[in-house]
Symmetry: D2
Subunit: 384 residues, 4 copies
Amino acid sequence: MLRDRYVEVRNQSAAICSPLQTEDYVVQPVADVSPPKWHLGHSTWFFETFILMPHLIGYQVFDPMYNFVFNSYYESVGARVVRTDRGNLSRPSVEDIYRYRAYVDRHMISFLETTLLDTGLTALVELGLNHEQQHQELLYTDIKYILGHNPLFPIYAGQFDFGQTNPQPNEMVHFGEGVYEIGFRGEGFCFDNELGRHKVYLGSFGISKKLVTNGEYLQFMLAGGYTDFSYWHSEGWDWLRQHGITAPLYWHKIDDRWMYYTLGGLKELQLDEPVCHVSFYEASAFAAWKGMRLPTEAEWEVASGRIDWGQRWEWTDSAYLPYPGFKKETGAIGEYNGKFMVSQMVLRGASVATPQGHSRNTYRNFFHPRHQWQFSGIRLATWS
Amino acid sequence: MLRDRYVEVRNQSAAICSPLQTEDYVVQPVADVSPPKWHLGHSTWFFETFILMPHLIGYQVFDPMYNFVFNSYYESVGARVVRTDRGNLSRPSVEDIYRYRAYVDRHMISFLETTLLDTGLTALVELGLNHEQQHQELLYTDIKYILGHNPLFPIYAGQFDFGQTNPQPNEMVHFGEGVYEIGFRGEGFCFDNELGRHKVYLGSFGISKKLVTNGEYLQFMLAGGYTDFSYWHSEGWDWLRQHGITAPLYWHKIDDRWMYYTLGGLKELQLDEPVCHVSFYEASAFAAWKGMRLPTEAEWEVASGRIDWGQRWEWTDSAYLPYPGFKKETGAIGEYNGKFMVSQMVLRGASVATPQGHSRNTYRNFFHPRHQWQFSGIRLATWS
Amino acid sequence: MLRDRYVEVRNQSAAICSPLQTEDYVVQPVADVSPPKWHLGHSTWFFETFILMPHLIGYQVFDPMYNFVFNSYYESVGARVVRTDRGNLSRPSVEDIYRYRAYVDRHMISFLETTLLDTGLTALVELGLNHEQQHQELLYTDIKYILGHNPLFPIYAGQFDFGQTNPQPNEMVHFGEGVYEIGFRGEGFCFDNELGRHKVYLGSFGISKKLVTNGEYLQFMLAGGYTDFSYWHSEGWDWLRQHGITAPLYWHKIDDRWMYYTLGGLKELQLDEPVCHVSFYEASAFAAWKGMRLPTEAEWEVASGRIDWGQRWEWTDSAYLPYPGFKKETGAIGEYNGKFMVSQMVLRGASVATPQGHSRNTYRNFFHPRHQWQFSGIRLATWS
Amino acid sequence: MLRDRYVEVRNQSAAICSPLQTEDYVVQPVADVSPPKWHLGHSTWFFETFILMPHLIGYQVFDPMYNFVFNSYYESVGARVVRTDRGNLSRPSVEDIYRYRAYVDRHMISFLETTLLDTGLTALVELGLNHEQQHQELLYTDIKYILGHNPLFPIYAGQFDFGQTNPQPNEMVHFGEGVYEIGFRGEGFCFDNELGRHKVYLGSFGISKKLVTNGEYLQFMLAGGYTDFSYWHSEGWDWLRQHGITAPLYWHKIDDRWMYYTLGGLKELQLDEPVCHVSFYEASAFAAWKGMRLPTEAEWEVASGRIDWGQRWEWTDSAYLPYPGFKKETGAIGEYNGKFMVSQMVLRGASVATPQGHSRNTYRNFFHPRHQWQFSGIRLATWS
């Protein structure tokens, strides 16, 4: 039932933040990372703005200024705080934001309990919940960035992102050339960018069953991978030199040992875990060093039933572009996906930070090729 | 004969520069634009470095410092002047560079006349000539930028880029869904990024026979196209606002009339000419305003026999990515194309500035989506 | 007694912060502003580093990482967080920092109660207390910046910075030419930059008894002061245009009325209050518009007995440079003042935010000419 | 006679440029450096704008667009090319600019030959000539920067800036405390910033007879001067680290020998020459390392009769501020000096690049403390 699912998803956001101290909710070390309190407010603002305000008669907004503060990028819904300024705002306080959540939740639950929603409205609530789940994953990645860039290396909790290791040997899975179908099919929820199931022609290809491990990546590093431009895109090589990148994010060489910051604190690097927090440039350079390549998103989707996935978002060599027949929705909801379809790369799969029930083999995640802060890893492919 | 073709292509570069004054060869108003004298030196350096030095016994380099000055991005061939510094170098002088060209040409001609070239070497010379032709097109675009951003609006020559107008009415050409083949096939020269003729599955699509005109684009502007974010990619909207873009490059509203800077000087905007000097963002926003879209590069290539092309490079909605089976060559030549296969969009066709004999329907040009300074235009497509 | 004074000054810092919410301690909207928790930690670090560590036998540092976090600019005392990164650190938490303060205070009080301090050590403790008082003033200015740049305009407390208005008419006080003496003389504390009482030759000058008011400044604005470059330094004019400055900081024109953000919230601008939060550029332009000038610091000091001062730091037209005979102390304490003696202007007087007992007529405050965020105002002078 | 002096000064500018190739006139490697052709045009524009246009009846401007191109910073005389864009302009060509000079010279000479100039106009022509002489010095410094930053290290001419060495031993000259007078006195030309001869009170001081040599400066370098922050202003230390400064400008360590680029080409560093091309930060750090200081401008002027000066502009520890009674002229001429009186340091003396007859012991040169590209050196002083 939608009401129960609403409660469950909303509670999960608060649960993710429960180990935080108040100060951790506030900071924004880089523009790509948002303060946790902003995520909590923004996902709430979505329900207030798109469900309660237009559909709940007599609804009073919690605070009219909050639209200004918690609107992320919806140009059609008025002024907003620029992204890089989010970490400059000490108010609303964390307590105020939880009050805001409680207020909106109370009205949403009452609304869901008493109203017969039509299909469009149901879909909109479902979109709001999936939107919140996306921000739950961002909460993990942003909390990791905030704590992992503090010189005190504070511990968030438990053994959250230690990664699991599959003891089975890796192997290449092969697919023959031909016409395949990709894109969402079925009845449940999906984002608009997955729609338009369509045929693609693929040449024969091989794809590895397992993800690249820390140990394999370390070999690349030891072989001089970060100092030989021939493996890199020109843009990646500039990125690497400009920022002095010599390893994945959160890797620290301390007293000659490779340590890795996790949400459970600094630990020794585990060689058999799948490598994490690499940019597209690094993923691509690693593949070139291996004499292989990254899969396309179509290959990945076709192969998804025969590979182990779910621990790392996997960089593909596909740019984030519209599927055939893609059509932006009208209004603010139409700003959800389509306007980002340039200059980003598709990641497929899911990660340890992805909420349960939020992953599908048609899911199209996307980030800029420079981004390391997601739980992103590498899968290899070959042309035949 | 290769020797004659060498002479012809090389002379053409000098011919393009002949209307210039010495000062015009030197400046670099923005990083994307290179000084004409740099183009002349760099294309010469290619022959010296890749043909004469390794293959002509006893060859003495003209000046060992020139490798430093004229190497563009070949990381494997030593240090180089960073791109943004090219306009800071008053020396070598234009005269010195022409001497350099004459010296290399003398040796190249003698080499071509007296040596039996194997296939690899022939291909390398051919690559050098195609490389020079690419810089000939850049000479036009960069000269236009240099003169067109001078407050005196100097005239380069003639009626070079006035564009031609086809009086016939436009129409949509339709193609059915199915498996098509794209990629280079045949015997002549092509770049490595065109290779690997392969099958693609296309849904049915429509594509316009003619390019979008200035008049049509002006309607978009008058309809508020530059002030309604809903037509734009998020990144494009930021670009537009940050740089205050309100029209294509070289458009100037003077005394309430739209003027257009051409290499023949400022002239009144011709409404029936194909629009030129738009970025991918602008092309895409225009298409969205029309309720249409840009073609993919595969659609374009499939349709190329039935549309009018050759006056403007046409932005496609395809990112510049490797074709199936793409493999970088080893050594410096391998740096030619592959390392740019991220964050850029493909343009198809050719422009008024493309050298004769340098265009093919499989040619994959590529630029960043923000770029306006190429002779770039818009063709529309529909999903069915 | 030094011990009592220590307790009093230290308590005052906590008292200033008592109206804050935890989140307010954390953020850093611009590089010049430090998070309140950083001020609390840094002033504590001073006592730990310069008193307890070298002089209290057996002292255990509270946390060795805190040197890294709370060192501001003492190059001689090891690594430090760069100034612009202070707002990225959620830890140490506010609670941890208060624990740190309590720990250091306990040891300091015990040390002061049980140790017979020599003159040098007494001076060092006194320096630490004056240092803390400087940060108390910065706490006010930085809290104002943090809250005053929040779209919710939160209230800090009371009527703190409303300014007082002296109903008496203003007048010019005149001084004849001759040799005067300036610089600190006496027995109490002063900073090293005030030392070296010395003779200066001053031409005759006039100086206004009272500060420029909001009403007078508004006349300058209405007369086009911000749009006529002739009143401005070239550098000030660039600053104004680059940042779009059209009024002092914290002035907001809302519904055609000038409002002014104070620590007590937004209030209507009071015309008879002394103008506040102007940069040197603005102070200087205002003076030029009046056909007058800013006083030099020597003139100000000579006149200090006959003018009303203490509400605003007053920009002088003196650069911050060493007095004759100035000598940097050796070691970290020597970094206190001397190394800033370039590119800054002297401000004289004191402000509503200056701690009681912390002001002197020989005090040399200094900031960059662009700074508006201090409680800075304008006094006029004439050449005769 | 003014007409002869006009011809002589104007010819000298062309003489300075005569060894240049056309390309050398065009480039602008950094914002502080202007293309030589701009200097030639700008100094001509001064005469056209301030003499011919208002005072020669019937004068036709050479090209109305030139005001846009050659106006440097006179806000009151209309739009202008921003400083950093000067190097982007290939036109007007060098030839056009010489034509512009000839045109203006012809009219100026005719005007001077046939008109009885009043005092104001005579002063204005004299200001124009001194202005041109300032640009003659900048021509030398900018040409040196342009050629000295070219990887080919081209030779300008002769032994221009080799510096002379005085074999006599250095010594300190001492002055007693008391009231002195500084500022221009007399009948010839001076800039407005030198006016207002006035009394200053100086404590007793010592000043070295000779400038610091390369050999002495090298000792500072070998003693770790560039790696010990204690000698540096905080701002200077940031400058040094940000730009990787480890020596004066134009010093190159090649094959373990210190080489020095001069307008006559690269030569071995001469230890007994006065050090050149140091910033204020470097001059000040050197003095601190010696346990001494830089003189103030008043001390320098008082001592000027008893020290050897004229080879290097000498950084003083005086900020560039108005003399008592300073009053900006009205109109564009008033923009000459006053608006720069913030954030810069005074240099006294003259250099090998200063035109003959252009130096005075009251001359107040000024640059930002970071600047190295002038022929700037170091003189030491002590407090008593």
